[in-house]
Amino acid sequence: MTSPITTSGVPRLARGVKLRFDRSRERHVLLLPETVVVLNATGTAILELCDGQRTVADIVAALREQYADVPEGQVVAYLAKLAERRHLEITDGD
């Protein structure tokens, strides 16, 4: 299950996990059954692209259209961390 993430993997939010804008605190959050994960701008930008269609490579490419400096290793590490916590599911895109 916890195989290393490749750039052809396709991430999407895990079952029961929701990305929401918290109106009263003006920030994005991930909502889970017992947890609220507060996201920063970068995290939000990455997770908004995790739609179950785009591969990790697609996500990095899309981020590069918005941001000047997008180190692929950091995006992969972030996705891997969320997958380890089961906030994300990453299916093999091959």
Partner: protein, 364 residues
């Protein structure tokens, strides 16, 4: 001072329940909670909670499925953008009701299990229910929801964690909460029969550690030790009036799910809006922050970490809600907890003391 709104609404929709678990945290005077909020009142509470900043709505009880309007309440919460979480025994989680709740936008289901097999599970629950629970847990997965199993641990089932985890694996649960009993309500009444021994806990910890490693990435295991064995108290509810807002069946709003008996003026949603209750009511202001503390909490370096523990536990054990939670080893009242722990560890104390089942009754 600007007070941030609650993150979560815990809606205890009813205290009626088909089960009779002796570890229940509901108050023992169940008959006092028959005059339940109606559908429109709950919908207003849910809407006001969302406006205050709540992000999650936990629908609990008692057994929330006994409310015929549950799907309507889920729909209201979903429309308000709240994450909806049903906490259920799963009795009454029929195919029809599951489909209704799914259509209404329910996000997550937590099913309670009392043990891993029918004989013990049914004995603890007070009625034959194990097989129906397993069926319902499967239904949760079939409809595409994530499945969390809630198992309240105590002296009479803690030795069966390996078997409970095997049952959870078989059900392909996403999460399992193995939480030792908190001694409120019926559980406080049954404490001597529920508090595990030190030996039982040590064994449980080994088993849980091994299982967490083995199931990493497949099933999340949340393990909560009994606070009677902890060195420091838990930061109850993340602080009084800080994160969670509880509303009980009759509309009283509470900062902790065990605050029913505290000597504070009640704050009822039938009389006040939630914004006033959260920000200004004596109920929610009384123990917010750290100003209310006495020593040893007042001068303790951990006062912002555990926030003095649980006010309701302090009140239940000492009669004074502003005292340090007696589970803290620094509490002057810690002897109360030590005595209960000593009794649980006496060799002559059996594992299966009789339990007082939760049920509605007349008080003497």
């Amino acid at each position: 001072m600007e007070i941030d709104g609650p993150l979560g609404l815990l809606a205890e929709l009813t205290y009626r329940c088909p089960l009779a678990c002796a570890y229940c945290s509901n108050p023992t005077e169940l008959a006092a909670y028959r005059d339940e909020l109606d559908t429109a009142e709950w919908q207003r509470v849910i809407t006001e909670a969302a406006e205050l900043g709540a992000l999650q709505c936990h629908l609990s009880g008692g057994e929330p499925l006994l409310r015929r309007d549950l799907a309507d309440l889920v729909r209201t919460a979903a429309e308000q953008g709240l994450y909806t979480n049903l906490v259920t025994s799963a009795l009454g989680f029929t195919e029809k009701r599951a489909a209704e709740l799914h259509d209404a936008g329910l996000d997550h289901v937590q099913v309670s299990l009392q043990a891993d097999e029918p004989a013990l599970s049914d004995r603890i629950a007070g009625l034959p229910s194990f097989r129906r629970k397993i069926e319902a847990a499967r239904r949760v997965r079939e409809l595409g929801w994530p499945l969390t199993l809630n198992v309240v641990l105590h002296r009479q089932n803690i030795d069966r964690i390996p078997e409970i985890l095997a049952a959870a694996e078989e059900l392909e649960a996403d999460r399992i909460e193995l939480a030792n009993t908190q001694y409120y309500g019926w559980a406080a009444l049954n404490r001597a029969a529920l508090l595990p021994s030190r030996e039982q806990l040590a064994e449980a910890e080994v088993v849980v550690r091994e299982a967490k490693e083995r199931l990493r990435g497949r099933m999340e295991i949340i393990y909560v030790i009994p606070d009677y064995y902890a060195t420091y108290p838990k930061p109850c509810m993340g602080g009084w009036g800080a994160r969670q807002l509880v509303v009980v069946p009759t509309g009283d709003a509470l900062p902790c799910l065990a605050a029913h008996g505290l000597p504070l003026p009640s704050a009822n949603v039938r009389e006040h809006d939630l914004a006033w209750i959260w920000q200004d009511s004596p109920m929610f202001s009384a123990y917010r922050g750290t100003d209310w503390m006495q020593d040893p909490c007042r001068s303790c370096s951990r006062r912002e970490v555990d926030l003095g523990g649980c006010r309701c536990q302090a009140f239940a054990l000492t009669g004074d809600a502003t005292r340090t939670d007696p589970v803290c080893h620094l509490s002057p009242d810690h002897g109360i907890v030590e005595a209960a722990v000593a009794e649980a560890n006496e060799e002559r104390t059996p594992v299966d003391l009789p339990l007082v089942p939760r049920r509605e009754r007349q008080r003497n």
